[in-house]
Amino acid sequence: MYLKYRKLKNLIFHFSLYLCAALVLIPLVLIIFFVFKMGATSINLDFFTSLPKPVGEDGGGMKHAILGTLYMVSIASVISIPLGLLCGVYLSEFGKGKVATLLRLTIDMLTGVPSIVIGIFAYITIVVPLKSFSAMAGGVALSIIILPIVCRSTEEILKLVPGHIREAGLALGLPRWRVIFNIVVKGNLSSLTTGVMLAISRAAGETAPLLFTAFGNMYLSYEIDEPMASLPVQIYNYAISPFDDWQRQAWAGSLVLIVLVLGINIFARTLISLKHIKFRYRG
């Protein structure tokens, strides 16, 4: 009798866990399902290779916005990934004392700043003095978004490395920077890359920081000091427009954005696992 009761309890808890796991997946599945359903019909080669057509004309694409997003995310990555990684290494390996505590606090607060406020900050500090919306301002705004994510994920990952691993390195007569770089950091490249990739995909999807920094445009631009289109802003502008054709394109844009973000993640993970296999079967 007692055994039956215990097994029943086990079954109920087991089932609840599966149910929760399923519930978590529902929003993601629904979003992907709807975006594919609504967007897939408007996706064609033109969407990737041509620029927007005037209202009323059919066709046209978002080449400028896709490239613009890649361009500005690259600017943000160049600024924030090295800075965030180094900062995270500092916090994990030397992070004691007042400076580190202050830095940690600052970074935590930065994580909590609403993205629209970061947009305003970039507007005031870059757009206003230069008297022009620019890709640079957009990139800087995105870099502020991802900096704390890269930094804290780096710190948390490296803190998981047990102290005796560092001691083993030091006991080999390696200087501390060698131990940190060749053992602590290199040994965790895959987790570090995952953190960086999550930050990048976050930046790729942000709209608010770009609204009044990069602003957006309807033509192709590679100029760092001129307004630049981006997928999220383009989707936003098209989605709130009254034109059916534009709204369809907004769905298509959403699909591209989702695939891009998922793609970045999958690409990074495969790259790491490939490298790891090569590494394991070498010499």
Partner: protein
């Protein structure tokens, strides 16, 4: 007595206000095995960790006195601990191969980062050290597998090979077999006896039988003080101090 390779003179170690090692002086002859025994908390690990200055990793740790390596005081403020550790290797209590590195990379990391790039030279060092650590025959066909994929005893021998790769004249071992089963322990003990031909080994152990089996000299510590130091044959059969006798006969500790 042979040449003294390492000579500790009046070593005192503090963790903040707590004194863990109290005025210990021991000489270590070249190419011998010396064991340090004593109850938990007697400062034997702390003492060992001072010998390659890895104690500095613990915040608040402070050592005073002299540790002379071939006549040079390695505790001196002008001495770089990195240089010290190249002459005095260390093997830890828990086997700690570097994660996500292959067996080969684990063994050669030290020499690679000291500037050796030539592949055949690295391979040669790896084979030589893995042979010395009595691990070569077990791993020669799977050098590219992760070091962490080995069994505990093999991992510990990998760590010994890794320490030998930079060819330090002195090797410190901090309870190297306490995480291993008796068979793996025995392999490490046999290995230690082999290492004695080329290296000076100082080993901390909880296991008195181990000390009696492998060591030439044994020091007995209690509460940070050196109670007795001498040849193993004397310490275990004819101890001078009552405390030593009580400990080795199991009356306390």
């Amino acid at each position: 007595m042979n040449n003294i390779v390492l000579s500790v003179k009046d070593l005192n170690v503090w963790y903040n206000d707590f004194q863990a090692v109290k005025g210990i002086s021991i000489d270590y002859p070249e190419k011998s095995i010396s064991a340090i025994i004593g109850p938990s908390g007697c400062g034997k690990s702390t003492f060992l960790r001072c010998l390659n200055r890895i104690h500095e990793e613990v915040p608040g740790a402070r050592a005073e006195g002299e540790i002379l390596l071939k006549g040079r005081n390695i505790l001196g403020s002008k001495i770089d601990p990195v240089q010290v550790r190249r002459s005095i290797g260390m093997v830890f209590q828990k086997p700690n191969p570097f994660p996500s590195m292959s067996i080969l990379e684990n063994v050669t990391l030290g020499v690679r980062l000291l500037g050796v790039r030539d592949k055949s030279k690295l391979m040669q060092v790896a084979e030589q050290c893995l042979r010395k650590a009595a691990l070569w025959d077990e791993v020669k066909d799977k050098l590219s597998q992760l070091g962490t994929s080995l069994s505990g005893g093999q991992q510990q021998r990998l760590c010994i090979a890794r320490a030998l790769a930079i060819d330090p004249p002195v090797l410190l071992m901090d309870e190297p077999t306490s995480a291993l089963d008796p068979i793996a322990s025995l392999k490490i003990e046999n290995l230690m006896s082999d290492l004695k031909k080329d290296y000076t080994v100082i080993v901390v152990t909880h296991n008195m039988q181990q000390a009696a089996r492998v060591a030439d000299y044994t020091s007995f510590f209690v509460l940070g003080e050196l109670i007795e130091h001498g040849a193993c044959s004397d310490i275990f059969t004819n101890p001078k101090e009552q405390k030593t006798e009580d400990y080795i006969t199991g009356k306390f500790g």
